[in-house]
Each structure stands twice: as C-alpha cells, then as structure tokens.
Symmetry: C2
Subunit: 294 residues, 2 copies
C-alpha cells in the first residue's frame, strides 16, 4: 500500500463520513419507496409499508481514548422483513492482538474508521438478500474497503448478471483490473468451507485500497455505493409482487442459516466490530429475522 | 498434566468409546420415554411421540492418515423439538495450527479422540435446553474433558439447584475441589462477552483431566454422563405438560439466537470439529431448529 502524505487528512475524513451518511439517506429512501409501491403478497407488518427507524449509539469511552458512535437504521416492512443500514465513525486504539495484524498499526495502535454497512433480508424467498459495506480506515496509513454481494435463495442467471453488471460498470471506469480482481476476492471471501458452499452469487469485495490518490479512491468507493443503490432496488422490484409457496419459504429459512454461519464463523467485519468495542446490536443487525436449522 | 506410561492405551480407548455408546443408548431411551409419557400440549410432529433416528458417518481419509467416524442420533418430537446425540471415534493428525496449541501434539501431531456430544432443544419455552459432552483425547499425552450445562429461557431457582446438585454429587465422590472448580470453569466458558450475558445457568466444565490414574478419571467421566441422564429427564418431566404463551415462545426463539451466537463465535468444540475435518452435519446439529433475531 502506498502512503501519500495527506492520505486520510481531516478533510478526507469529514468528506468520507459525510458521504456514508448521504448514501444511507439515498438507500433508505429507495427501499422505503419499494415498501410503498409493492402490490403483491403482504404477510408481515399488518400489510402496512415499513419505514426506517433510526437509533443513535455512542462508543463507550472507558479509557479516555475512544470516541465516536453511529446511527443504526432499521426497517421491518412488508417487502423487507428486516433491513439494517448502519453508519458509524469511531476512533480509538486497537488492542495488541489487532495492531499486529492491521496495516500501519504495528507501532501506533491509534485508528479512525468510518463506514456504512447494509444487510437486507426480504420477506419473499424469491427476492435476494443483499449486503453492502464501504469504509475508510486511517491508522498511520489510510485506505478504503468494501463491496457488495447478493444472496438469492433461488439464483437466477439474469438477476445475477444484472447485479454483477452494475459493479463491473462501476469498476471499469476506474481500472480495468478492478472488477475481475474484486469479483474473485468476493467469491473467495463469501465461502463456507465447512459446507463447501458459496454464501451467495457474489459481487465485489475490496480492502486496503490505496492507490496513492485519495480523490480517485474515494470516487471509486462512492461509485461502489451508488451501484448498489441503483441495482438492488431494481432487482427487488422485479420480483416483489410474485407469490411464493411454503416450501420456498422453508428453503429461505434454511439458506438464512448459512448466512448466520458465515457471519459468525468467518466474517471479519463481525469479529472486528465485536472485538473493537463496536455496538453489538448494530453489528448483529445482520442476523436474519427468522432462521431454521431443520 | 501428569503423563503415566499407559494412560490412553488401546484398552482404555476401547473401554471409553464403548462407554460413550452405552451412555448414548441410555440417554436416548430416557428421552424417548418422555416422548411417550407427555400429556401436555403437542404442537409438533403431528402430536406423535418422537424417536431417535441414527445416521452413521465416516471421516474422510484424503491423506491415508485419518480414520474413524461416528453416529448421529436425531429426534424431532413433541417434547423435544430437536435433539442430537452424537458419538464419534476419530484419529488422524492435527494441522500445524492445532498441534501448537494442543498438549502433547507439539512434536507429534497424531491424535485419537472419542466422545459423546448432546444438545437438546425442547419445544416448550418452559423446559430448559441442555448440552452435555464428554470425551477422551490421546496425543502423546491423554486426558478426559466434558461437562454439562443447562439453558432455560426462564430460569427457576429450584430447577437450577437440582441440576447443579446432580453434578455436585457426581464430583464430590471423586474430589471435593472438582465441583467448585468445574462450576466456575463452566460459568466462565459459557459466557457471551459481546452481550455481557451468560449462556444459561451453568453446570460443570472440565478439560485436560489427567490425574495420573486413568481408572479414576474414566470413572469420573462416567459419573458426569450418568448425572446428566438422571437429572435432565427429571427436570423436563416436571414442566413438560404445562402450556405456554406466544410471548414465552417468542422469548425462547430470541434466547436460542444467543445459543447460536455462542456456538459459532466462541465454542471450541464447534471450531475444533469444523477445522479437524469433523462431520459438519453432526457438529451443527447443535443449532436450534427455529430462531429469531428480531
């Protein structure tokens, strides 16, 4: 990773965290519009459209070295059985265990991190669950990371292609190597070795992105966020009015169990959050609302 | 840990694995008798008594160094929504990562392990879930480990006391230090730091038990297994005919989420099993049948 002198300056931090908030607003609005527009089966929330409720949280400051907090936005609706959109901006010091493993934190454990994290579990087994996350992290170095991926219960080639095309397009305008590299990274990351199964149909995943040009890296991170806001609601709308069977629902609840297994056994973000004093409710907002392990 | 010359001999291995099979038979019979005797609310399996179904599995032997397998016994009943009783006897070589952390495996990665593992999720939120496990492990050293603990949704002092009394009695006939030591170990082990919650009301937990006297250690391990077979069915019978409310059921499904979080985030046995080529279905039989994260 190249380290340029002002990569991760205060101005950069402010602009990044403001963007994550803006992206949250745009995404929540797009999902709430879906709640209003659905005409198909309404089996939850008494058939009323859901809307996001926001809860702010602060990072506990036991040692005088921590700070920041976040806002958790949660929806329980008739299309989205449970959806969480979290933004947070925190700073503090990594534990020794973490410092050794994080770029630029080996000698100075201080860090700053801001990001948005999204997990959507739709009611309908025909509508894919989705995850999106982008973040900026600053230690003595600085970088962006994130991505987005989709987890349908019943994969559909056209839907998968549309999802990937959105990310390919976002990537290609920055670097022709990004999409193939980040798609592969995503496939390798969202994999359950104990099941020999992929979590879903992939998307992109990137981390420790620092080309030396903060503006370009920030613009790319914004493009990744925008791609999700553009493509995912469109894919939900395509199937949200279709009815489903009890057996399809059952398959969905089983598939959600794999999602839980991945997040608790392997996901770095979950572990990172739980071990760095993150907000447990916000982190585990990714858990599906209802799951079976038959 | 003291190492006596013949601790973990072939005869010891045979006697231990035979015992784990016998304990499985006794426990399954006790639980099936409960399925027959219940007169209270029958909301599952069409109201018919459940019985255990057995499935044998073999450990994959990709490198010619692995062997063994196990038998998974599963019940879906009207008292026990899902219960799993697994016995297994496996041998092979630990990975480098594991060898460094396991007594007696630092220089020679070969191991043999046999054990029984039990997880019971009752239908009724008034009836506690329970876990029991005992095992014998042989590397260049040898030892026993295990314990049992209970996870009620609505803790009940008398029930908790009866459960603990059974283990205290099993412990005290061997060593007056065992119960306080193993109870504390259990309390510390079955704890969710990210929630600052205990998983349940405890029980006992012990590991790397090798007093130098294999006969005594084996007898103690048998006593721990017998204590569970005697006390848990009695506690289930005390409440199994009582009806419950939808709200109590909801609390149960939430509590089960904590169980999942513990097992996937912290449980050594789950990790050990998944990383040493154990049978995924058998290991994840511990997952509750239905869970919510509202």
């Amino acid at each position: 990773m190249t380290q340029s002198r002002d990569y991760g300056s205060d101005t950069h931090k402010e602009r990044a965290s403001a963007w994550f908030g803006q992206l949250r607003d745009e995404l929540c609005a797009a999902l709430e519009a879906i709640e209003d527009d659905v005409t198909g089966p309404n089996r939850t929330s008494g058939g009323a459209p859901g809307s996001f409720e926001r809860t702010a949280w602060e990072r506990p400051d036991e040692d005088g070295k921590s700070g920041g907090g976040g806002v958790m936005s949660v929806i329980y609706g008739r299309v989205f059985e449970k959806g969480g959109v979290n933004v947070s901006t925190v700073e503090g010091e990594f534990s020794e265990e973490f410092s050794a493993r994080i770029p630029g934190a080996e000698k100075d454990p201080g860090f700053w991190a801001s990001g948005i994290s999204v997990v959507i579990h739709p009611c309908s087994p025909l509508t894919p669950a989705a995850h999106m996350n982008t973040r900026m992290i600053v230690t003595t170095q600085g970088w962006f990371g994130g991505g987005g991926d989709m987890t349908p219960v019943f994969p559909d080639d056209q839907e998968t292609e549309t999802f990937h095309a959105a990310y390919r397009s976002a990537c290609d305008s920055f670097d022709p190597d990004f999409y193939p590299k980040f798609k592969k990274w995503c496939d390798e990351y969202f994999y359950l070795p104990h099941r020999d199964e992929r979590r879903g149909v992939g998307g992109i995943f990137f981390d420790e992105l620092n080309t030396g040009d903060w503006e370009a890296d920030f613009a790319f991170t914004q493009a990744v966020g925008r791609a999700f806001v553009e493509v995912y609601p469109k894919l939900v709308r395509a199937k949200m009015d279709a009815d489903w069977t009890d057996e399809q629902r059952r398959q969905q609840l089983i598939k959600r169990g794999r999602y839980v297994e991945f997040n608790l056994l392997y996901d770095r973000g979950t572990m990172f959050g739980l071990k760095t004093g993150g907000n447990t409710e916000a982190i585990l907002m990714s858990m599906p609302p209802e799951v079976i392990w038959p």
